[in-house]
Subunit: 231 residues, 2 copies
Protein backbone atom coordinates (compact mmCIF):
# COMPACT_ATOMS: atom_id res chain seq x y z
CA UNK A 1 0.00 0.00 0.00
CA UNK A 2 2.87 2.35 0.53
CA UNK A 3 5.45 1.20 -1.94
CA UNK A 4 8.83 -0.15 -0.98
CA UNK A 5 11.01 0.99 1.88
CA UNK A 6 14.13 3.12 1.81
CA UNK A 7 17.07 3.69 4.06
CA UNK A 8 17.32 7.45 4.51
CA UNK A 9 20.58 9.24 5.01
CA UNK A 10 21.87 12.79 5.11
CA UNK A 11 24.93 13.86 3.14
CA UNK A 12 26.73 17.10 3.83
CA UNK A 13 28.30 19.50 1.36
CA UNK A 14 30.47 21.44 3.81
CA UNK A 15 32.15 24.39 2.13
CA UNK A 16 34.72 26.85 3.34
CA UNK A 17 37.17 29.32 1.84
CA UNK A 18 40.87 28.71 2.47
CA UNK A 19 43.18 31.26 1.02
CA UNK A 20 41.88 31.87 -2.46
CA UNK A 21 40.05 28.60 -2.92
CA UNK A 22 36.63 27.20 -2.23
CA UNK A 23 37.12 23.92 -0.37
CA UNK A 24 34.88 21.02 0.55
CA UNK A 25 35.14 18.61 3.46
CA UNK A 26 35.61 15.03 2.26
CA UNK A 27 36.02 11.74 4.12
CA UNK A 28 37.85 8.66 2.93
CA UNK A 29 35.53 5.68 3.08
CA UNK A 30 36.71 2.82 5.27
CA UNK A 31 33.96 0.38 4.27
CA UNK A 32 32.29 -1.08 1.23
CA UNK A 33 30.88 0.10 -1.08
CA UNK A 34 33.44 2.50 -2.55
CA UNK A 35 35.97 1.57 0.14
CA UNK A 36 39.00 3.82 -0.19
CA UNK A 37 37.16 6.43 -2.25
CA UNK A 38 36.56 9.97 -1.11
CA UNK A 39 32.98 10.95 -0.43
CA UNK A 40 30.81 13.47 1.33
CA UNK A 41 30.38 13.06 5.08
CA UNK A 42 26.99 11.77 6.08
CA UNK A 43 24.99 9.27 8.06
CA UNK A 44 21.62 7.70 8.47
CA UNK A 45 18.64 9.38 10.09
CA UNK A 46 18.06 8.13 13.63
CA UNK A 47 14.59 7.04 14.78
CA UNK A 48 13.55 10.28 16.47
CA UNK A 49 15.41 12.72 14.26
CA UNK A 50 14.16 15.15 11.69
CA UNK A 51 16.45 15.71 8.71
CA UNK A 52 17.91 18.96 10.02
CA UNK A 53 18.72 17.23 13.32
CA UNK A 54 20.69 14.55 11.53
CA UNK A 55 22.51 17.16 9.47
CA UNK A 56 23.44 19.19 12.55
CA UNK A 57 24.58 16.09 14.41
CA UNK A 58 26.75 14.93 11.55
CA UNK A 59 28.21 18.39 11.11
CA UNK A 60 29.16 18.57 14.79
CA UNK A 61 30.67 15.12 14.59
CA UNK A 62 32.80 16.14 11.63
CA UNK A 63 34.12 19.50 12.70
CA UNK A 64 34.03 18.89 16.44
CA UNK A 65 31.26 20.11 18.66
CA UNK A 66 33.58 22.64 20.22
CA UNK A 67 34.16 24.29 16.89
CA UNK A 68 30.49 23.87 15.94
CA UNK A 69 29.39 25.73 19.03
CA UNK A 70 31.29 28.91 18.37
CA UNK A 71 30.93 28.98 14.62
CA UNK A 72 28.74 31.52 12.83
CA UNK A 73 28.03 29.28 9.88
CA UNK A 74 24.98 28.29 7.88
CA UNK A 75 23.17 25.01 7.25
CA UNK A 76 20.34 24.55 4.75
CA UNK A 77 18.70 21.69 2.94
CA UNK A 78 19.85 21.23 -0.63
CA UNK A 79 17.83 18.44 -2.27
CA UNK A 80 16.86 14.78 -2.12
CA UNK A 81 18.63 12.13 -4.21
CA UNK A 82 17.05 8.75 -4.77
CA UNK A 83 18.02 7.26 -8.12
CA UNK A 84 17.23 3.53 -7.93
CA UNK A 85 20.84 2.49 -8.52
CA UNK A 86 22.64 5.16 -6.55
CA UNK A 87 23.65 2.73 -3.79
CA UNK A 88 24.56 -0.89 -4.61
CA UNK A 89 23.28 -2.03 -1.22
CA UNK A 90 19.69 -1.23 -2.14
CA UNK A 91 17.37 1.73 -2.11
CA UNK A 92 18.89 4.58 -0.18
CA UNK A 93 17.49 8.07 -0.32
CA UNK A 94 19.88 10.82 0.64
CA UNK A 95 18.86 14.32 1.59
CA UNK A 96 21.81 16.60 1.02
CA UNK A 97 22.48 19.64 3.17
CA UNK A 98 24.72 22.57 2.38
CA UNK A 99 26.91 23.98 5.16
CA UNK A 100 28.93 27.19 4.82
CA UNK A 101 31.63 27.58 7.45
CA UNK A 102 34.56 29.83 8.22
CA UNK A 103 38.01 28.41 7.69
CA UNK A 104 38.63 25.80 10.40
CA UNK A 105 41.59 23.59 11.16
CA UNK A 106 41.66 20.19 9.50
CA UNK A 107 39.44 17.84 11.47
CA UNK A 108 41.25 15.23 13.52
CA UNK A 109 38.71 12.49 14.01
CA UNK A 110 39.69 9.17 15.52
CA UNK A 111 39.42 6.47 12.89
CA UNK A 112 38.20 8.78 10.16
CA UNK A 113 40.39 10.26 7.45
CA UNK A 114 38.91 13.57 6.44
CA UNK A 115 40.07 16.92 5.23
CA UNK A 116 39.51 20.00 3.11
CA UNK A 117 39.91 19.70 -0.64
CA UNK A 118 39.78 22.49 -3.23
CA UNK A 119 36.50 22.06 -5.07
CA UNK A 120 38.21 22.57 -8.42
CA UNK A 121 40.38 19.50 -7.82
CA UNK A 122 37.65 17.10 -6.74
CA UNK A 123 36.62 14.27 -9.05
CA UNK A 124 35.23 10.76 -8.84
CA UNK A 125 33.59 10.76 -5.47
CA UNK A 126 31.66 7.77 -4.13
CA UNK A 127 27.99 7.19 -5.03
CA UNK A 128 26.46 10.25 -6.75
CA UNK A 129 28.42 12.59 -4.51
CA UNK A 130 30.13 14.32 -7.42
CA UNK A 131 26.72 15.44 -8.61
CA UNK A 132 25.60 16.43 -5.11
CA UNK A 133 28.76 18.47 -4.64
CA UNK A 134 28.18 20.16 -7.97
CA UNK A 135 24.63 21.05 -6.99
CA UNK A 136 25.82 22.37 -3.64
CA UNK A 137 28.50 24.55 -5.17
CA UNK A 138 26.04 25.96 -7.67
CA UNK A 139 23.59 26.66 -4.85
CA UNK A 140 26.30 28.48 -2.91
CA UNK A 141 27.20 30.55 -5.96
CA UNK A 142 23.60 31.59 -6.52
CA UNK A 143 23.04 32.28 -2.84
CA UNK A 144 25.89 34.76 -2.71
CA UNK A 145 24.25 36.75 -5.47
CA UNK A 146 21.14 37.77 -3.61
CA UNK A 147 21.77 37.14 0.07
CA UNK A 148 24.29 38.24 2.68
CA UNK A 149 25.33 34.66 3.40
CA UNK A 150 28.90 35.20 2.23
CA UNK A 151 29.50 36.30 5.81
CA UNK A 152 28.83 32.71 6.91
CA UNK A 153 32.22 31.88 5.40
CA UNK A 154 33.88 34.45 7.66
CA UNK A 155 34.85 34.35 11.32
CA UNK A 156 32.77 36.42 13.75
CA UNK A 157 34.86 39.51 13.01
CA UNK A 158 36.19 40.10 9.54
CA UNK A 159 37.31 42.81 7.15
CA UNK A 160 35.73 43.88 3.89
CA UNK A 161 38.68 42.34 2.10
CA UNK A 162 38.01 39.01 3.84
CA UNK A 163 34.45 39.17 2.59
CA UNK A 164 35.50 40.06 -0.92
CA UNK A 165 37.90 37.13 -1.04
CA UNK A 166 34.95 34.87 -0.22
CA UNK A 167 33.07 36.11 -3.27
CA UNK A 168 36.17 35.82 -5.43
CA UNK A 169 36.88 32.26 -4.30
CA UNK A 170 33.29 31.03 -4.66
CA UNK A 171 32.71 32.70 -8.01
CA UNK A 172 36.29 32.36 -9.28
CA UNK A 173 36.28 35.95 -10.45
CA UNK A 174 37.99 39.19 -9.54
CA UNK A 175 35.95 41.96 -8.01
CA UNK A 176 36.89 45.63 -7.89
CA UNK A 177 37.64 46.31 -4.21
CA UNK A 178 36.28 49.86 -4.31
CA UNK A 179 32.94 49.05 -5.91
CA UNK A 180 32.61 46.00 -3.68
CA UNK A 181 33.22 48.05 -0.58
CA UNK A 182 30.61 50.59 -1.64
CA UNK A 183 28.07 47.85 -2.32
CA UNK A 184 28.39 46.00 0.98
CA UNK A 185 28.73 49.04 3.18
CA UNK A 186 25.71 50.74 1.60
CA UNK A 187 23.49 47.70 2.15
CA UNK A 188 21.76 48.45 5.46
CA UNK A 189 22.26 45.77 8.08
CA UNK A 190 24.84 43.75 6.16
CA UNK A 191 27.90 44.82 8.14
CA UNK A 192 28.10 46.19 11.67
CA UNK A 193 31.28 48.18 12.18
CA UNK A 194 33.36 47.52 15.24
CA UNK A 195 35.98 50.06 16.17
CA UNK A 196 38.68 47.45 16.12
CA UNK A 197 41.20 47.11 13.33
CA UNK A 198 43.54 44.40 12.17
CA UNK A 199 47.19 45.12 12.77
CA UNK A 200 50.46 43.53 11.88
CA UNK A 201 50.53 43.43 8.11
CA UNK A 202 51.65 46.13 5.73
CA UNK A 203 49.27 48.83 4.62
CA UNK A 204 46.57 50.75 6.34
CA UNK A 205 44.84 48.70 9.04
CA UNK A 206 41.44 47.43 7.96
CA UNK A 207 38.35 47.89 10.08
CA UNK A 208 36.70 44.78 11.52
CA UNK A 209 32.98 44.15 11.03
CA UNK A 210 30.43 41.73 12.36
CA UNK A 211 27.43 40.24 10.53
CA UNK A 212 24.35 42.42 10.66
CA UNK A 213 20.71 41.32 10.61
CA UNK A 214 20.19 41.78 6.86
CA UNK A 215 19.66 38.59 4.90
CA UNK A 216 19.01 39.74 1.34
CA UNK A 217 20.86 41.97 -1.09
CA UNK A 218 18.72 44.48 -2.98
CA UNK A 219 19.55 44.59 -5.78
CA UNK A 220 21.57 41.45 -6.21
CA UNK A 221 25.31 41.34 -6.76
CA UNK A 222 25.83 39.72 -10.14
CA UNK A 223 28.50 37.19 -10.96
CA UNK A 224 28.52 38.15 -14.59
CA UNK A 225 27.72 41.52 -16.11
CA UNK A 226 24.09 41.88 -17.01
CA UNK A 227 23.24 40.82 -20.54
CA UNK A 228 22.90 43.95 -22.59
CA UNK A 229 19.39 44.52 -23.83
CA UNK A 230 18.88 44.14 -27.55
CA UNK A 231 18.72 47.24 -29.69
Amino acid sequence: MRGNLFAVGVDLVVLTVRGDELCVLLVRRSEQPFEGSWGLPGGFVAPDEDLADTAARELSAQIGSGAAGRVTGHLEQLAGYAAPDRDPRGRVLSVAFLALLPDLPDPDQPGVTSGWHPVADVADLAFDHTRILSDGVERARETLEYTTLAAAFCPPEFTITDLRRVYEAVWRTEIDPRNFSRKVTSTPGFLIPTNRHVTGGPGRPAQLFRRGPATRLHPAMLREPAVRAAG
Copy 2:
Protein backbone atom coordinates in the same frame (compact mmCIF):
# COMPACT_ATOMS: atom_id res chain seq x y z
CA MET B 1 23.89 -0.37 10.28
CA ARG B 2 21.74 1.85 8.16
CA GLY B 3 19.16 3.15 10.60
CA ASN B 4 15.48 2.50 10.32
CA LEU B 5 13.48 2.33 7.14
CA PHE B 6 11.13 4.90 5.64
CA ALA B 7 8.29 4.85 3.21
CA VAL B 8 9.10 7.50 0.60
CA GLY B 9 6.47 9.51 -1.19
CA VAL B 10 6.27 12.51 -3.47
CA ASP B 11 3.85 15.36 -2.82
CA LEU B 12 3.02 17.94 -5.45
CA VAL B 13 2.46 21.65 -5.04
CA VAL B 14 0.73 22.31 -8.36
CA LEU B 15 0.14 26.01 -8.90
CA THR B 16 -1.71 27.89 -11.59
CA VAL B 17 -3.19 31.35 -12.07
CA ARG B 18 -6.93 31.60 -12.60
CA GLY B 19 -8.27 35.06 -13.17
CA ASP B 20 -6.51 37.17 -10.60
CA GLU B 21 -5.67 34.44 -8.12
CA LEU B 22 -2.88 31.98 -7.51
CA CYS B 23 -4.50 28.56 -7.13
CA VAL B 24 -3.30 25.18 -5.92
CA LEU B 25 -4.52 21.73 -6.88
CA LEU B 26 -5.88 19.85 -3.86
CA VAL B 27 -7.40 16.41 -3.46
CA ARG B 28 -9.93 15.32 -0.88
CA ARG B 29 -8.63 12.30 0.98
CA SER B 30 -10.79 9.20 0.80
CA GLU B 31 -8.77 7.12 3.30
CA GLN B 32 -7.31 7.33 6.74
CA PRO B 33 -5.42 9.17 8.04
CA PHE B 34 -6.99 12.60 7.57
CA GLU B 35 -9.94 11.04 5.72
CA GLY B 36 -12.14 13.81 4.35
CA SER B 37 -9.45 16.46 4.66
CA TRP B 38 -7.94 18.29 1.72
CA GLY B 39 -4.32 17.60 0.96
CA LEU B 40 -1.69 17.85 -1.72
CA PRO B 41 -1.76 15.21 -4.46
CA GLY B 42 1.00 12.66 -4.16
CA GLY B 43 1.99 9.03 -4.07
CA PHE B 44 4.71 6.60 -3.15
CA VAL B 45 7.87 6.06 -5.15
CA ALA B 46 7.70 2.88 -7.20
CA PRO B 47 10.58 0.36 -7.14
CA ASP B 48 12.34 1.51 -10.28
CA GLU B 49 11.51 5.18 -10.15
CA ASP B 50 13.63 8.18 -9.40
CA LEU B 51 11.92 11.02 -7.54
CA ALA B 52 11.36 13.13 -10.64
CA ASP B 53 9.76 10.12 -12.37
CA THR B 54 7.29 9.72 -9.55
CA ALA B 55 6.51 13.42 -9.60
CA ALA B 56 5.92 13.42 -13.36
CA ARG B 57 3.76 10.31 -13.16
CA GLU B 58 1.62 11.75 -10.38
CA LEU B 59 1.27 15.03 -12.20
CA SER B 60 0.07 13.31 -15.35
CA ALA B 61 -2.35 11.25 -13.33
CA GLN B 62 -3.79 14.37 -11.76
CA ILE B 63 -4.16 16.67 -14.73
CA GLY B 64 -4.63 13.99 -17.37
CA SER B 65 -1.86 12.79 -19.59
CA GLY B 66 -3.46 14.47 -22.57
CA ALA B 67 -3.19 17.84 -20.92
CA ALA B 68 0.23 17.00 -19.53
CA GLY B 69 1.57 16.26 -22.98
CA ARG B 70 0.79 19.60 -24.52
CA VAL B 71 1.47 21.76 -21.52
CA THR B 72 4.46 24.10 -21.34
CA GLY B 73 4.76 23.95 -17.60
CA HIS B 74 7.56 23.49 -15.12
CA LEU B 75 8.39 20.85 -12.51
CA GLU B 76 11.17 21.16 -9.93
CA GLN B 77 12.08 19.59 -6.64
CA LEU B 78 11.18 21.66 -3.61
CA ALA B 79 12.45 19.93 -0.44
CA GLY B 80 12.31 16.80 1.66
CA TYR B 81 10.06 16.56 4.72
CA ALA B 82 10.63 13.87 7.32
CA ALA B 83 9.58 15.00 10.78
CA PRO B 84 9.24 11.84 12.92
CA ASP B 85 5.55 12.45 13.65
CA ARG B 86 4.42 13.83 10.32
CA ASP B 87 2.48 10.66 9.42
CA PRO B 88 0.64 8.68 12.11
CA ARG B 89 1.22 5.44 10.17
CA GLY B 90 4.96 5.55 10.78
CA ARG B 91 8.03 7.08 9.27
CA VAL B 92 7.22 8.54 5.91
CA LEU B 93 9.58 10.85 4.10
CA SER B 94 8.01 13.06 1.48
CA VAL B 95 9.91 14.85 -1.24
CA ALA B 96 7.81 17.78 -2.40
CA PHE B 97 7.86 19.01 -6.00
CA LEU B 98 6.66 22.33 -7.30
CA ALA B 99 4.74 22.40 -10.58
CA LEU B 100 3.77 25.59 -12.39
CA LEU B 101 1.06 25.14 -15.01
CA PRO B 102 -1.15 27.24 -17.24
CA ASP B 103 -4.80 27.48 -16.33
CA LEU B 104 -6.39 24.09 -17.04
CA PRO B 105 -9.92 22.82 -16.64
CA ASP B 106 -10.83 21.24 -13.31
CA PRO B 107 -9.57 17.67 -13.29
CA ASP B 108 -12.24 15.02 -13.60
CA GLN B 109 -10.68 11.92 -12.14
CA PRO B 110 -12.76 8.82 -11.50
CA GLY B 111 -13.02 8.23 -7.78
CA VAL B 112 -10.94 11.25 -6.80
CA THR B 113 -12.33 14.59 -5.70
CA SER B 114 -9.86 17.25 -6.69
CA GLY B 115 -9.86 20.84 -7.83
CA TRP B 116 -8.24 24.25 -7.86
CA HIS B 117 -8.35 26.34 -4.70
CA PRO B 118 -7.17 29.93 -4.26
CA VAL B 119 -4.00 29.74 -2.20
CA ALA B 120 -5.16 32.58 0.01
CA ASP B 121 -8.19 30.55 1.14
CA VAL B 122 -6.39 27.29 1.94
CA ALA B 123 -5.99 26.23 5.56
CA ASP B 124 -5.73 23.05 7.62
CA LEU B 125 -4.47 20.60 5.04
CA ALA B 126 -3.64 16.99 5.92
CA PHE B 127 -0.24 16.02 7.37
CA ASP B 128 2.27 18.89 7.08
CA HIS B 129 0.88 19.91 3.72
CA THR B 130 0.05 23.43 4.88
CA ARG B 131 3.73 23.98 5.51
CA ILE B 132 4.74 22.35 2.23
CA LEU B 133 2.28 24.53 0.34
CA SER B 134 3.63 27.60 2.08
CA ASP B 135 7.18 26.66 1.13
CA GLY B 136 6.11 26.04 -2.45
CA VAL B 137 4.36 29.37 -2.77
CA GLU B 138 7.35 31.18 -1.35
CA ARG B 139 9.62 29.34 -3.78
CA ALA B 140 7.37 30.36 -6.67
CA ARG B 141 7.41 33.99 -5.52
CA GLU B 142 11.20 34.04 -5.33
CA THR B 143 11.58 32.24 -8.63
CA LEU B 144 9.56 34.87 -10.47
CA GLU B 145 11.97 37.52 -9.24
CA TYR B 146 15.06 36.29 -11.02
CA THR B 147 13.92 33.84 -13.69
CA THR B 148 11.61 33.87 -16.68
CA LEU B 149 9.51 31.03 -15.27
CA ALA B 150 6.39 33.16 -15.01
CA ALA B 151 5.79 32.06 -18.60
CA ALA B 152 5.29 28.50 -17.31
CA PHE B 153 1.95 29.75 -15.95
CA CYS B 154 0.91 30.85 -19.43
CA PRO B 155 -0.39 28.91 -22.42
CA PRO B 156 1.97 28.43 -25.38
CA GLU B 157 0.97 31.81 -26.81
CA PHE B 158 0.20 34.69 -24.49
CA THR B 159 0.15 38.47 -24.29
CA ILE B 160 2.27 40.71 -22.12
CA THR B 161 -0.82 41.47 -20.09
CA ASP B 162 -1.32 37.74 -19.46
CA LEU B 163 2.23 37.56 -18.20
CA ARG B 164 1.82 40.61 -15.99
CA ARG B 165 -1.32 39.16 -14.42
CA VAL B 166 0.75 36.11 -13.45
CA TYR B 167 3.18 38.29 -11.53
CA GLU B 168 0.36 40.24 -9.94
CA ALA B 169 -1.46 37.10 -8.84
CA VAL B 170 1.62 35.32 -7.47
CA TRP B 171 2.97 38.40 -5.69
CA ARG B 172 -0.41 39.94 -4.83
CA THR B 173 0.77 43.32 -6.00
CA GLU B 174 -0.01 45.73 -8.80
CA ILE B 175 2.62 46.33 -11.45
CA ASP B 176 2.79 49.30 -13.79
CA PRO B 177 1.92 47.87 -17.23
CA ARG B 178 4.24 50.22 -19.10
CA ASN B 179 7.34 49.57 -17.02
CA PHE B 180 6.56 45.85 -16.96
CA SER B 181 6.29 45.75 -20.73
CA ARG B 182 9.60 47.54 -21.10
CA LYS B 183 11.29 45.14 -18.69
CA VAL B 184 10.15 41.91 -20.28
CA THR B 185 10.51 43.02 -23.88
CA SER B 186 14.02 44.33 -23.28
CA THR B 187 15.21 41.07 -21.73
CA PRO B 188 16.77 39.19 -24.66
CA GLY B 189 15.25 35.77 -25.24
CA PHE B 190 12.39 36.12 -22.78
CA LEU B 191 9.60 36.67 -25.30
CA ILE B 192 9.48 35.68 -28.95
CA PRO B 193 6.99 37.80 -30.85
CA THR B 194 4.53 36.12 -33.15
CA ASN B 195 2.72 38.27 -35.66
CA ARG B 196 -0.62 37.13 -34.37
CA HIS B 197 -2.84 39.26 -32.18
CA VAL B 198 -5.76 38.56 -29.91
CA THR B 199 -9.06 39.84 -31.18
CA GLY B 200 -12.58 40.09 -29.86
CA GLY B 201 -12.31 42.23 -26.76
CA PRO B 202 -12.37 45.99 -26.49
CA GLY B 203 -9.24 48.00 -26.94
CA ARG B 204 -6.27 47.69 -29.20
CA PRO B 205 -5.44 44.04 -30.00
CA ALA B 206 -2.48 42.73 -28.08
CA GLN B 207 0.38 40.91 -29.72
CA LEU B 208 0.90 37.23 -28.90
CA PHE B 209 4.29 35.96 -27.75
CA ARG B 210 5.89 32.59 -27.13
CA ARG B 211 8.47 31.68 -24.49
CA GLY B 212 12.02 32.33 -25.54
CA PRO B 213 15.18 30.48 -24.51
CA ALA B 214 16.17 32.88 -21.71
CA THR B 215 15.92 31.47 -18.20
CA ARG B 216 17.21 34.24 -15.96
CA LEU B 217 16.32 37.90 -15.49
CA HIS B 218 19.27 40.28 -15.21
CA PRO B 219 18.78 42.23 -13.12
CA ALA B 220 15.97 40.71 -11.12
CA MET B 221 12.45 42.05 -11.02
CA LEU B 222 11.80 42.95 -7.41
CA ARG B 223 8.59 42.31 -5.51
CA GLU B 224 9.25 45.16 -3.16
CA PRO B 225 11.11 48.37 -3.86
CA ALA B 226 14.79 48.13 -3.02
CA VAL B 227 15.65 49.16 0.52
CA ARG B 228 17.07 52.63 0.39
CA ALA B 229 20.70 52.77 1.34
CA ALA B 230 21.51 54.57 4.56
CA GLY B 231 22.75 58.15 4.38
